[in-house]
Amino acid sequence: MGIFLVYFGYFFVTIGAIFLFLGALGIYRMPDLYTRLQAGTKASTLGAMSLILGVAFLEPDWWIKLIIMILFIAFSNPLSSHAIARGSYKHNLKPFSKEQIDAYEEVEESKEEQE
């Protein structure tokens, strides 16, 4: 049974490392802030979660704290990326869009008119 746990661990660690790399590649290649947020923070979230799960298989004594870490990453990363996206939009950073579709624009304009 123990050897199977180790194989599971190696599998999840490999998947995690690959997704971490793809997330960083997304950060490097994407054209603007919002797409970078998309590719970067989330692929790296799945990568980190998977890698930590793999370590939990490799070191079964540590699993309580590792599960807490996975939960913390799963809750905090979407919050922080959402906060950056909203803050940047309010800071007048317009998203790049080929088809010029931006439903959020009207909300911001109506707010400015009120002020």
Partner: protein
């Protein structure tokens, strides 16, 4: 299922959750650690339980637990599937993205359910919640496939909402 739990129930629920977190940080059963933990988490729970939870122990209703398990399954499948999609886009030398911000109306009623839906949408790559005003979600979409509001709703949120309605709004 009752939605609004009693005050003391919510307080005890918050205390229990914080105590579990405390135990998993310290991983020791020494009496000094436990007593400190009980005092500290009790204080924090007493100050914060009103904003921490509206449901209390009614979240542990067996039917809800089953639906929560179903939701985690739906969520995990969506997470892996869409991560692979985004990975394909990133590897592709042409970088085929078509981003834009779209909006749709949700049918969920409670604030907590909306929050869970927003976080879920953010965690599945390809979509990112920019803002939530009343019933309207504003979503940054990496690869738009349609401009129609109903189709957008069907593509992004319908699968999660079906389960979330069963958990929180019944």
């Amino acid at each position: 299922m009752k939605n609004k739990a009693q005050k003391w129930g919510r307080f005890l629920y918050t205390w229990l959750i914080l105590m579990i977190v405390w135990y998993s940080y310290t991983v020791s059963l020494a009496s000094a650690e436990l007593i400190t933990g009980i005092i500290v988490t009790g204080l924090i729970a007493a100050l914060n339980f009103t904003s921490f939870t509206h449901y209390g122990f009614s979240l542990f209703h067996p039917r809800r637990i089953l639906y929560i398990l179903q939701f985690s399954f739906v969520f995990l499948v969506a997470l892996v599937k869409s991560n692979i999609q985004v990975a394909k886009i990133v590897i592709n030398p042409k970088l085929p993205v078509n981003p834009g911000i779209v909006k749709f109306k949700t049918t969920l009623k409670s604030d907590f359910a909306k929050m869970v839906l927003a976080n879920t949408i953010t965690l599945t790559p390809g979509t990112l919640t920019v803002d939530l005003i009343g019933d309207e979600f504003y979503i940054h979409w990496l690869n738009m496939t349609s401009h129609d509001e109903a189709a957008i709703y069907e593509d992004i949120a319908a699968d999660f909402e079906k389960v979330l309605i069963k958990i929180f709004d019944k």
